[in-house]
């Protein structure tokens, strides 16, 4: 009898604890719901400086919560599950397409925007989002080559150098399918945004051939590897990491390959069905101001999409650093990497073969 009572007591206590935990957690997580002067942003880490957030909070009185994700795919899957609670997200260009397709982001009412014309020309009406209907670009960069001249012995000019047997074992590629294919396609004179099966096949063959020369696929510390000379040449993203490497070692250089360039940009989009639409528009307008946009370069070493912000950047050497702002002439043929759509299957098939070889 006593044992039964104890077991029952144990069960009651267990369920009571769970319920208590629930209600405590429930209170905390429900703060920040429907239009109560708060804004929840889901963004790339390191792309929205603290200075921008606190400036916005001070001016508007809106409390901002910023959470960060590790990939577009994580962000999309959380939004697609519903109930994410985010008001503004920061997808990359191809992710904007995927999110529009899946109806996850709301159309932007251009009449509510102020300062849209501050944006640089290449971010107005971009290929991945005609008319900026669903996205306002915030930060941008390029996919290029980071190399150590002490190691290569001569200036590097393009993707073809990443196939140079002289650097065997000291060549690194980004550990990312679409990024690797930029090199594979452009080295063959093909468009980086092709969806043609034969083109992709050609690129796959080049990447297979290159694999013998590779030191590895690396998306995290390639800049350190190039800095030490453990890597002579690496496919790299411009921005914070590459800029630090270039600043710290005069032999390290960042270039846009002569075969053509590619751009990436991370934009702000408003989540469909948000309860804080007004706050979201205030955020867009705040970040479109030149003096605010300049902070992304000052405090995060990233290129701003805001043309009017460039003269306001405190350290003008950052604007002249090609590892942050690619020179205009090298971007003439550059395109945004967009969602390959059905051709994704060709890429995945080829990439599997490359990685498995």
């Amino acid at each position: 009898m006593n044992k039964k009572v104890l077991a029952l007591g144990a069960l009651t206590l267990a369920s009571a604890t769970v319920l208590a935990g629930c209600s405590a957690g429930g209170d905390a997580s429900s703060s920040g719901a429907a239009g109560d002067g708060s804004l929840s942003i889901y963004a790339w880490a390191g792309e929205i400086p603290d200075s921008v957030i606190s400036g916005f909070e001070e001016e508007t009185g809106i409390t901002v919560t910023v959470d960060t994700f590790d990939s577009n795919e994580t962000m999309i899957s959380k939004l697609a599950a519903g109930n994410s609670g985010y008001d503004v997200v920061e997808p990359s260009q191809y992710a904007v397409q995927l999110m529009v397709e899946r109806d996850l982001v709301a159309p932007i009412d251009q009449s509510k925007l102020e300062g849209f014309d501050n944006l640089a020309e290449k971010f107005v009406d971009p290929s991945f989002d005609p008319g900026n209907e669903h996205s306002i670009p915030w930060a941008w960069g390029t996919t290029g080559i980071l190399y150590n001249e002490a190691c290569t012995g001569a200036p590097v000019t393009g993707w073809k150098d990443m196939w140079n047997p002289a650097y065997s074992g000291k060549v690194y590629m980004l550990d990312n399918m679409l990024s690797a294919y930029i090199a594979g396609l452009q080295v063959n004179g093909l468009s980086a945004t092709t969806t043609d099966e034969a083109d992709i096949e050609t690129a796959t063959d080049s990447l297979l051939e290159q694999k013998a020369l590779l030191g590895g696929y690396n998306s995290t510390n390639y800049a350190d590897l190039v800095g030490t000379g453990d890597a002579c040449i690496a496919e790299a993203y411009s921005g914070t990491t590459s800029a630090t490497a270039v600043e710290n070692n005069p032999d390290v250089k960042y270039i846009i390959p002569e075969e053509g360039g590619t751009l990436w940009t991370d934009s702000f989009s408003i989540v469909k069905g948000t309860a804080n639409e007004d706050a979201a528009y205030q955020w867009l307008n705040y970040t479109l101001r030149p003096e605010v946009a300049a902070l992304v370069t000052d405090d995060a070493s990233l290129a701003s999409t805001n043309e009017a912000a460039l003269p306001l950047v405190a350290d003008q050497s950052q604007v002249e650093n090609p590892a942050i702002y690619a020179p205009a002439e090298s971007l003439q043929n550059s395109e945004f990497i967009v969602d390959p759509g059905d051709a994704l299957a060709f890429f995945q098939d080829g990439w599997t073969r490359v990685r498995a070889s």
């Binding site: 206590l13 957690g25 510390n221 800095g227 030490t228």
Partner: protein, 262 residues
């Protein structure tokens, strides 16, 4: 042969602790790049304490870890107690069911949890994060406590009952003191597991509940900064502090003998 084993043991020890030593040394490196040591600085600690998002993530991880570990320990204790002490119907089934979260890949658990939460209309946040962490820490806590309880001599509590102690007094004066080290172990193990979890957290975190591992993992694209070395150093120091405190209190208990004053 003995010499060889001892050298291997030493080499393994160095291999285990070298990265931690490097982390601590580089947290004082004034250079921004990790391959060059330029001189001594506290700059990264200053930046760490100014980094609002990182501190917020640290706080989230600590809060979630504490709540989840507490829940896991309490529920785990009760579960272990029931399974070890009573002839519960379907005991084997329960024991097996408790072990399943340890075997199922975390990504599967994470996706299923997210599906359940979104179907039930529960917004992801602190609540779902804690629930997710309880799912993975509960089996650990239960296992630790079941082991401790089965090795406990049942005649001790029988003797207490014989001497007129009520079940509650038996629990408070006999069982709990004897199980205290295991309860602490279960709690600390649950806390560390929760604190370092990435996969489950990815799916169950919501607005304002980015945990520390998620935050660090998400900085990979724009590059890790020496600030993270400073954070790592502080965590190592904090862990050592906990270990020392636990160790000292255990030593005291052992030295003082088995007195169980309430």
């Amino acid at each position: 042969m003995d010499r060889l084993t001892s050298w291997i043991a030493r080499a393994v020890f160095v291999f285990l602790y070298l990265p931690i030593a490097a982390l601590i040394v580089y947290s004082f490196n004034s250079s921004e790049v990790s391959y060059r040591f330029d001189g001594f600085t506290f700059r990264w600690y200053a930046e760490l304490f100014a980094d609002r998002m990182l501190l917020e993530a640290l706080r989230t991880s600590a809060v979630v870890g504490l709540i989840a570990a507490l829940l896991a320990t309490v529920i785990g204790f009760l579960t272990a107690f029931a399974l070890v002490r009573f002839r519960v119907k379907g005991r084997a089934f329960f024991v097996g069911a408790i072990l399943i979260p340890l075997i199922v890949p975390e990504i599967v658990l994470g996706v299923s949890l997210l599906t359940v939460f979104s179907t039930a209309g529960i917004p992801t946040g602190l609540l779902t994060l804690v629930l997710g962490h309880v799912v993975i820490t509960l089996p650990l806590a239960t296992l630790v406590l079941m082991g401790a309880m089965s090795s406990l001599d049942p005649s001790l509590s029988e003797a207490a009952t014989d001497l007129g102690a009520s079940p509650w007094v038996t629990f408070r004066r006999v069982l709990f003191p004897l199980l205290r080290p295991s309860i602490l172990a279960a709690f600390l193990l649950s806390f560390t597991t929760s604190f370092s979890n990435i996969v489950i957290s990815t799916f169950t975190a919501g607005v304002g509940t980015t945990t520390l591992p998620l935050r660090i993992y998400s900085t990979l694209r724009t590059g890790l900064t020496p600030e993270l070395n400073a954070l790592g150093t502080l965590l190592v120091v904090a862990t050592l502090g906990v270990i020392l405190a636990v160790g000292v209190s255990q030593m005291r208990r052992i030295l003082a003998g088995p007195t169980t004053t309430p």
